[in-house]
Amino acid sequence: MAGAAASNRQRSKIAPYLMILPALVYLGIFFVVPFYSLARTSLSSSGGSVYLPTLTFNWDFGNYAAALSHYQDQIIRTFTYALVATVLCVLLAFPLAYVIAFKAGRYKNLILGLVILPFFVTFLIRTIAWKTILADDGWVVSALGAVGLLPSEGRLLSTSWAVIGGLTYNWIIFMILPLYVSLEKIDPRLIEASKDLYSSNRRSFTKVILPLSMPGVLAGSLLVFIPASGDFINADYLGSTQTTMIGNVIQKQFLVVKDYPAAAALSMVLMAIILVGVLLYTRALGTEDLV
């Protein structure tokens, strides 16, 4: 009996490692090693023809210098678009998440279901639909034109605003859900307490609700900003040659031009800027509540 118990304990010591091993090995091979390949490619020189490219690894840092100088515009544009889209997501998601958390009553689950529903349609098809909505002869353009709110180009499609709008639309769900979760967690008694202490509605919002919703804003911002800065579909479908982002360049260099070192260097730059940005952002807002 005692022996059985001991062997049981013995087994449970290695059991967790046996359980995590398959996934860790898998991610090691197909997540960590690919980044090694990417880094190696970014430091290689390409030779050969377009059809049979050859790569020689020779610590060629020139790829990075070329990427940074050639695609400076795209790099700045990418992070500007992603930043504006993230801010728009916060502004649009907040009222909706607030109403679901505090005002929806018994319709809460229904509205949450409705919020998720549009995202059951493939991302690409939703973006095509925006092409129709923002078309030059569509009602949105004529309505905005009638009130004089059209951008200087006189149209919406193929402008920066269309691309930013698409980025906002496609990732807003990742802002609404974490925001809702953190608003939902707020103890209503805290809001009541602030009002009992003669705080105005605005003050209980800025002093109680807003600070307590920060974990949601933080998580949501990361979940919107990261995919938005790596996207190339919105710029491709809704933009023009004047609105290309880093993702478009990486995609084209990898799959069309097949200049692998340049594309790999640009991917590393994108990843590095995002990592630094995320670190600074989480440092500024605090990460304790994130996980």
């Binding site: 359980m19 990417l38 549009p118 095509i128």
Partner: protein, 280 residues
């Protein structure tokens, strides 16, 4: 600061502050409603244009109502094949990723071991890499290994991004369960295997189902990573992307609407089932 507080105290009636003003509340609800409408705007367009009768190659502007597209949803074999392939990839990759991801989640919730936090952090990493970089990295690996891109490389890539989602979802659903039930079962003489099948599994099954559905949806919808590792193989999103460049048949809208309806029905059935279980 203090003077401001005092003046506020002196000038305003407490009762008026406590109840929120009706018009402010109304504006808030209207704004929220408009945002909800904004989320649905493209969906309305997609459904409407599944009934369109486009004259040219592109289904972008309204030409006239027809039921023809719905009568022949599988008119384009390439589109149907792409959808079938995507369903296949989603099912197979989810099955693999469910096993790997659930094992990690169970280990993280149920066991204490050295290096837990490191595993936790490592699992979040794939979720923080932009898709275009992950696709590019996988492509360079397959190039280095001289593996031909196709069905297998798509599967490999999908499993790689699904594992983390599944592990996170299952883990989140497992937190806060009463695990003393397992001890109770063992105390009552059940073997560890019996305990696992009779107690542990029923407890974690809802989490696994939820994670599986999420993973399936993510796989079906993935374009960017797949685009990098697909070679000449065409999944459903890849077909749609190629269509944007050449010709967009309204059948794309028909199938998208059908998928939406099926998801809606599954969602409703799931909700009703759960409600019934709680009540019964």
């Amino acid at each position: 600061m203090t003077t401001q507080a005092i003046t506020e105290l002196a000038t305003t009636e407490p009762k008026k502050i406590k109840g929120s003003p009706k018009w402010g509340d109304l504006i808030l609800r209207i704004v929220a409603g408009l945002v909800l409408l904004y989320l649905f705007l493209p969906i309305f367009v997609i459904i409407l244009f599944s009934f369109n009768n486009p004259q040219g190659k592109f289904n972008y502007s309204w030409q006239g109502f027809t039921l023809n597209n719905w009568a022949h949803p599988f008119k384009y074999p390439a589109l149907t094949d792409a959808l079938k392939l995507s369903l296949n990839v989603a099912a197979v990759s989810t099955a693999f990723a469910l096993v790997l991801g659930t094992l990690v989640a169970v280990a993280l919730v149920r066991q204490r071991f050295r290096g837990m936090t490191a595993v936790d952090t490592f699992l979040i990493l794939p979720l923080t890499a932009p898709e275009v970089v992950m696709g590019a990295a996988l492509l360079t690996l397959f190039l280095d290994l001289s593996w031909a891109a196709g069905y297998t490389t798509i599967l490999i890539a999908h499993i790689a991004f699904e594992i983390s989602f599944i592990a996170m979802t299952v883990r989140a659903r497992m937190r806060g369960f009463d695990w003393t039930l397992e001890d109770a079962s063992m105390d009552l003489g059940a073997s560890p295997t019996r305990t696992f099948f009779k107690v542990t599994l029923p407890l974690i099954i809802p989490g696994i189902v939820a994670a599986g559905m999420l993973s399936f949806a993510l796989s079906l919808d993935d374009f960017i990573i797949t685009y990098f590792v697909s070679g000449s193989t065409v999944t459903y999103p890849l077909y749609v992307n190629a269509a944007v460049k050449a010709a967009v048949p309204p059948q794309i809208n028909v199938l998208a609407t059908a998928i939406l309806l099926i998801s809606l029905i599954m969602l409703a059935v799931g909700t009703l089932y759960r409600r019934k279980r709680i009540e019964g």
